[in-house]
Structure formats: C-alpha cells, structure tokens
C-alpha cells in the first residue's frame, strides 16, 4: 500500500472558523509591546470566563530595526463561549500598529474582518520600509475588509500630555490606548488592568498614571466616537461552559516549572536544575530560579553540555537532576544522555522544540525532534519519551516524567514546543492532594560480612539501586564503560554487552504507562487521526467538526511516545485508515509504521506556524465520499 502526502492547499487555508468565538490579532513593531498587550487582553478574557487560546508570534531579534517587515511582533487570541483549543485560524479583528504589521498580517484576516490601524504611523518612511508603493489606508486595496483608521499615536500623546513625558516615552503608552479600545469593544472590565499597571510601575507612579490615562482614553474613544455609524459596535462574548473551580492562566513554561517542582516534592527529592540560555526553553530556568524555598537549586552552566552534566552529577549525589533546552542544545547533550542511560541515573530532560535544523527558526514552533528524542544517541540507547499536548498538560507531563525517572532510574525526555512554551490558556488549578506521592528510597543497606554490594543488581522492574555518595559501606564506581551485570565492574565481554543491552531495552519497554485512550470516537471506525504534542488543539476541533457532519472519524493523541502504550497497535489496526498530522515531515508516522506495521499516512506542515483547524478538517474530508463512506485506498 502506498500513501500520498497531503499538502495543505491555499483554498483550505482560507476557510472560515467557528462563529461562537472571536479571534483578535495584535500586530506591531517588536518594540510596540504587542506581547504585553496580548497578554493583558488574554487576562481580561479569562476573567470574563471565556475559554481561550493564544499564539504569540515574535521575531528572533530582540529589537529588530523599527518599522521593518521582519521586525513585526504579533499576538493572536481566540476566545469564546465554547471550548477553545487553538488560537484560531483567521482573525476577525486585526490591530495593526504600523504599515509593516498591516502588510505581514492582513492576508490572514477573514474577509469582512475589521482592521484597526494607527494611521499616525503610516508615513512615507514607514510605508517605504514596509515596501508599500502607496498608502493602503488611502486607496481601496483593503476594500474587502472593514477599516477603522485612527491616529492612535496622536490620541495617545494627547491623553498622556498632563504627565510631562518625553515624546518617546509618551508614545510607549500607545499599546495601552489600543488595549483600552479593545476592552471597550468587547465590554471588558478595566479594573484588573489598572491594578496591574499600578503594581508594575509601583516605583514610577508617573508612568503608571500615564499608562492608565492612555488606557482610559482608548476606552473612552470607543464609547464616545460613535463608531456605530461605521458599523462597529460592542461585541459580547459570554462565558464558556467550563467545570466549576478556581482558574488561572498558564503558559507551558509556567506549567512545566511547577510540574517539575511538584514532581520533586512528590518524590521527596530536592531539585537541581542545570540550564543554559536558549530560546524557547529559558523561561523554565527563569521560573525555577525564583523557587528556592522548594529545595530548588538552579545553575546557569557554561554550556549545554555542562548543564546536563551538572544535572547528572546532582542526580548521582541524590537530587533530582533536570535540564531543559531546545533542539540544538539537546544535540549537544547527546553524549551525556548516553552516560545517564549507561549509569542508570534519574534525569529529566525537557526539549522545547523549535524549527530546525541547526539554529533554524528559534522563535517558531515545530515538532521535528521526535526522532532525536527517541533515537538521537550513539549506541542502542533507549529512554522514555513523553510529549505534552497543551500548556496545562505540561504540568501533569512533568510530574509523569519525574515519576518514571525516579521509579525506573532512567533519564526521561519531555517534549514540548515553542508554541506550548509561550501560549497561555486557562488552567483549572489542581488540588495537590489528588496527586499520590511516589517517594524515593535510597539504598542504604550494607551487605552482610563476606558479601559485596552490587550497584547493578536489579529489582523486578529491572531498576538498579540508587546510592548517595556519603553512604558508609556502599562504596562503588560507575561510569560510561560497559558494566558487568550486578557488580558494575568494567566488562567488555561479548555476552555481557549483549545481556546489558537487552536489559537496558527491556527496562524501558517494561515501564508501566497507561493504556492509550481515545479522545473522540471509538475503536474500529473508518478513520483515525493520530497526533502528539501541540497539534492536540487543531486536531480536536477538526475531528469535532467532521463528526458533527456525520463522518466516522476518531482522534487518538499519544502522550507516551516511548515506550508506546501496549494497546496502541491493536487500536490502530482497528481502523480502516490512519492519518497522522505533524509539524514535521512525518516522524511519528515512521515510528508507528515501524512499530505496528500499519499504513499511517502523514499530513505535514513545517511553516513554523501551528496547524489550522480547517487544514486538518480538509485532510479528513478528503478520505470520505459524499455519502460518508470511506474512499478506496488511493494508489
């Protein structure tokens, strides 16, 4: 059986999203504070009870030259009165703070969507930088959208005039003016934001007041400018039906950090984090560095290798060693990962994947390190791999990684990606009492007279004992050279290497993981969409829509990439067809084919952007005839 690779077509890419939700994109220069504006708007939506998902998309340069096309920073939020799993396909509203932001973002805007543009920035110089021959606000090139042009720069300057700020500082309040208008548009409460500004600028009350004034002015503009005449009114997006409880927003980086701390506490261990700055993993280091009271030590090492080597050293000494990085850094850690596998010490390695290879796309998302995670070391070097599906899911995945690492004495790789790291979503605060502790017992029993301690003796799970240096009577040496079974002494013999290789494999394959669940649908259908990681959102929505249309399609989302759930093979074989959407060129697809000899068909996207719902929906649709029957297998 051959299978065709489905490429996303432009027609699919411009279809409509759902009506119960609104998608807003803030776009501006990387110095315009768009990420902050988006973050605060997110909070207001969350406080209003909407379900939501966000997609921050920013350039790799810290301060790219002002006004340029590559310096555009954008933040998209999808919020609604229904369950939201993605940041939305096409925006309903685009806020463009300059010509470059308009140019790079307007093609995504839904036909009939609203553009709010700061005409104060549409001057000759900025138009040239954005490579506009004519001012798009003045000709009819934007005719298929609704256009609201305001001189936000001027309006902001007027609003903050009483505070005597310099021109540059005053213009920095532009984003708050814009946010004020956006809050009016969606009838949101300004008070939490006012409080936030007061806290943020506690040391500079003038700046706090200026920003608040700008915010209020933007809001007042909406109220008084009679925008209704232009067909622009307030939109009410009611609260979404969610489980009752206490909520907050989290990014994946927050949630992983807290999950690692929770995991270490459940294991009754101190946590040692060895890290080296890299986008987009650094946020975890920043978060953990502030949590010393949980027995956390953070160490900013001299390089990626030292980061993992120090973490392994800490694990050897009896703490939970953790290191995080992104693809290029994980590549550098490869040899030390092998050492962790050989010495069978617990270690958690987080890979916040980004576009590759090499430096690739540092701030863009991709899922292309699955091979690296599962296979990317010299020798037969198996380790468990877990993939997180959402910002909130990162918490439980981190705890699961700690559990496996400490219960089986093995390094564990946890995969997230740039999108999960940065995107925020509402999170129902867990009750920590619901998590069962899994305390570690260090081996301290001194062998009887005449017997020797065996550092590579194994229990029924094939786990070896964890002995802290400093323990009397259990002196031993470990290292990267092949070990004799039991004694751990150097042993190059053929039979021993065969046996130890088998043990390392069997230990990992024997890890106790839950059976694979089905997210939507049931076993034995016509088509199953199989995903992993951050494609969870778009796959969920696409399958939901397809099922509403009566198509027999199910969704399976794999958390345990290695070892795979024991029932997964039978489950996959129960469907007629298997579709695997991935933000890579087909890595999970290959593993599934290899492990289960099934005809998994890839749907690939490596544009640095997450999947859109309709891209997957269209791919699903292509499997079915008009009467809902599955098409014959294509050549």
């Amino acid at each position: 059986m051959a299978s065709a690779v489905h490429q996303v077509t432009p027609e699919e890419a411009s279809a409509n999203p759902q009506p119960e939700a609104v998608v807003v994109r803030f776009a501006g220069d990387s110095g315009d504070g768009m990420q902050l504006t988006g973050g605060q708007f997110t909070l207001s939506a969350a406080l209003a009870g909407n379900d939501l998902a966000t997609f921050p998309d920013f350039p790799a340069e810290i301060r790219a030259p002002q006004g340029t096309l590559f310096g555009v920073s954008a933040f998209q939020i999808n919020f609604g009165s229904v369950a939201i799993e993605t940041a939305g396909d096409a925006p309903d509203v685009l806020v463009a703070m300059n010509p470059a932001a308009l140019k790079t973002n307007v093609p995504d805007l839904k036909p009939g969507g609203l553009i709010i543009a700061d005409e104060g920035e549409f001057n000759k110089r900025n138009l040239e930088k954005a490579k506009y021959a004519a001012n798009p606000l003045e000709d009819d090139s934007l005719a298929k959208w609704q256009l609201l042009k305001l001189n936000i720069s001027q309006l902001t300057l007027e609003a903050v005039k009483p505070f005597g700020l310099g021109n540059k500082e005053a213009l920095r309040c532009k984003n708050m003016w814009t946010l004020g208008l956006a809050l009016w548009m969606f009838d949101r409460d300004r008070e939490p934001l006012v409080q936030w500004l007061k806290d943020k600028f506690a040391k500079a009350p003038d700046l706090a007041e200026a920003n608040i004034a700008a915010l209020n002015a933007g809001h007042a503009y909406g109220e008084t400018a009679e925008l209704g005449a232009q067909g622009i009114g307030q939109l009410h997006v009611p609260a979404a039906p969610v489980e009752p409880g206490l909520y907050r927003t989290v990014t994946g980086a927050d949630s992983i950090s807290m999950g690692l701390v929770a995991g270490a506490q459940l294991a009754n261990l101190k946590l040692f984090y060895g890290g080296y700055p890299i986008t987009p993993a650094s946020a975890i280091l920043h978060h953990l560095a502030r949590l010393k009271e949980f027995g956390v030590t953070t160490f900013q090492a001299e390089d990626e290798i030292a980061a993992i080597a120090s973490a392994l050293g800490a694990s050897y000494a009896g703490q939970l060693g953790v290191t995080c990085s992104s693809g290029p850094g994980i590549a550098l850690k490869g040899e030390a990962l092998g050492l962790a596998i050989m010495t069978e010490l617990p270690l958690v390695i987080v890979n916040a994947q980004r576009g590759g290879p090499s430096t690739g796309l540092p701030t863009k998302t991709e899922q292309s390190d699955l091979y690296q995670a599962v296979y990317g070391r010299n020798g037969d070097a198996p380790l468990p791999v877990i993939a997180s599906r959402s910002a909130a899911d990162c918490f439980d995945c981190a705890i699961e990684a700690v559990r496996i690492a400490t219960q089986y004495m093995t390094p564990v790789m946890l995969l997230t990606d740039g999108y999960l790291q940065n995107a925020a979503e509402p999170w129902k605060v867990p009750d920590m009492g619901d998590y069962a502790p899994f305390p570690v017992t260090f081996h301290e029993t001194v062998p009887a007279e005449g017997e020797t301690f065996l550092p590579y003796a194994r229990d029924e799970k094939l786990k070896r004992p964890w002995v802290k240096p400093g323990t009397p009577g259990l002196l031993h040496r470990i290292g990267g050279i092949e070990k004799a079974q039991g004694s751990g002494n150097l042993d190059y013999s053929a039979d021993n290497h065969q046996a130890m290789t088998n043990i390392r494999r069997d230990k990992v394959l024997g890890i106790d993981i839950p059976d694979q669940a089905i997210e939507q649908g049931e076993a034995g259908g016509k088509l199953v969409v199989v995903g992993w990681g951050s494609t969870y959102g778009p796959i969920t929505q696409a399958v939901r829509r397809a099922r509403r249309q009566g198509l027999d399609v199910s969704h399976i989302h794999i958390r345990h990439i290695w070892p795979m759930p024991k029932n997964l093979g039978d489950l996959l074989r129960s469907y007629d067809r298997i579709l695997v959407p991935e933000m890579n060129t087909g890595q999970l697809k290959t593993v599934l084919r290899d492990q289960f000899l099934v005809d998994a068909t890839p749907l690939n996207k490596v544009s640095g952007q997450p999947f859109r719902i309709h891209e997957i929906e269209a791919a699903i649709g292509a499997y079915f005839d008009a009467d809902g029957s599955i098409k014959a297998v294509n050549s």
Partner: protein, 341 residues
Amino acid sequence: MNEITTIRPSTPKDWETDQEVRWCPGCGDYAILKAVQRTMPEIGATPENTVFISGIGCSSRFPYYMETYGFHTIHGRAPAVATGVKLANPDLDVWIITGDGDGLSIGGNHTMHLLRRNLDCQVLLFNNEIYGLTKGQYSPTSRVGTRSPSTPFGSVDRPARPCAFALGSGARFIARGIDVHKNLPSVLKAAHAHRGAAFVEIFQNCIVYNDDVFAPFTEKANAGHQLWLEHGQPMVFAGGTKGIALDTERLTLKVVDIADGDTSGVIVHNVTNRAIAHMLVEMPFGPFPMALGVLYDDPAPTFESAVVAQNAAASEGKVADLQKLVSKGQTWMVEKEPHAI
C-alpha cells in the same frame, strides 16, 4: 571542627580497590595513584565522603582504583559533573582527575569555569603532553615540533601552559608536582587544605608515547633544575647555589648566583602574591628552572557556599506550599457551569 572519632586511622592499603590496574607497565600514573593513596590517611579523609570524578583518557581510569565513591564520566566533562555533585552535597570531598587533552582541549571550557567559580575541590591534571589512550597524537600541551601519528612532520601550534591557563581563569590555588617525586603527597596535602578550587599540574611520564619528555628537570641528575617553592623562604635551587631575583629595571625575573649562602636580593616566596604567581607560571624552562610545589594559594569564598547561602536567604520566611504555588497569580472562580448558548 569537631573531632572525628575513627575506629582506626586508615592506611594507604585501605584506599586500594580490588580492580586490576590497567595502565602500561612503567606509567607515571602508578606513582601518582600511590601518592594519592598515601595522602588520604594523612589528611584524615573518609572513603564514603570522598568522590573521585574523571573524564576520559588514561588518567581518567583513576577512580576505578580508589576505594571511594567514583564517577568515570565523559570526555572533558568531569568538572561539570563535579559541580552538580558538590552543589547537591557540599559535604563531599571532591577530587577531579583529568589530563592535558581531557582538561585543556575537549574540556578546557569546563576547567576554566570551574576555576573561575571556585568550586571547592581538587583538580589533578596529569600532564604528559600527549594523547595516550588514543595512541599517541600530540596534545594541547605538546611542544612545537612534536612528531606524532597526527603530526608526522611535527606539530606547528604553540602549546597551552596549564598553570598559566588556570591562573588566568581565576584559580586561587596553583601547584605543580612530579609523578615519581617524593614531594607529591605534600603538594596534594596543600591542595586539599585549600578551601576552593585547587589546581595541581602533575608532570606525568608517558613511557610509551612520550618517554622522558620531562627528563630535563625530572631526572635525578637534573634535580638542580627544580625550584621547590616554599612560603616565606627564598627562591633558591641548584643546591642553594642559585636563586630567583627580580630585575627591577625590566620588571622580569632573573637567575642570580648565590655566594656563601647570602640570599639577599633573592625573592622570598609569598603564596598569596598574585603578581609573583603570574611570573612563576610564565617562567620559561631552560633559562629558568621549573617552579614546583605551591605557586599560589590565596583562598576566596567558594561557589557552593555562596549558592547554599543564597538559597537559604531566598527561602527565609517562605513555606514550600505547592497548593499556594499552583494557585499564584491572577485567578478567578467559576462557581457553576454557565449555560452554553
């Protein structure tokens, strides 16, 4: 410090393992191993609190032969592993065993940062100016013109000087020893007594690939070319007939003859004088003798103690409450499920 009650003092034999030592017959590593095993009882070390950590190379097999805790890691990374060990448990007595290739080539970065941070440990760098385990290629400390399998026409790059590198990296203790010399245990004792990163370059003879490379000062007949430094004592060598003085006009060192034991004008060694240390690590062998013993010893606060203190200060008055942690930030309560529209 409290008196530690021991059942009996250890002997060098107690520090030997049951493992067969696998260095070439006549290798200088044997002598260093014996010197370390002789040193351990004298410094009152306890095996369970002692950890030997090594990288890759001939020298890095060392931990297998010490009856202590030991970690034979990967090429060049021993300082990084040691940093994690020491930060996780500052009570452990950490010894790093490395070589000229391991510590200055593939692991040069880690050596630099370990010394800069001043982790409390001993770094024993076995310098044989050659790659032994990979069969004789020239190393970063090999002299210009070294013929080896990878440099059949002689090496062309200038060698690194381990002690100058260490001092430049910020090390607060620098010493030199010779594998077979009787003074090695006293150098090791001084290194152990120093709180902070103690860097010791040990001239180690590779009998197979670089035999006698240090003979011009290690041979008995050449002992006159050894300058054994002692704090508070004048820098004299060659049986007290020569000394090191400062050429005040050119601000360099010079060799002076000593007549009738009159050492006036000869520099009195002060281990805390960083300027002298700089001149000693740069002193070229040939015109000058080889400076041995403790070149520099001026303790500074250690990395792990600073980390421990900061962790404690940052935790003060805070409770490790997980529930509070996950509930932080701006939260909202959903009382009951709103009606779907």
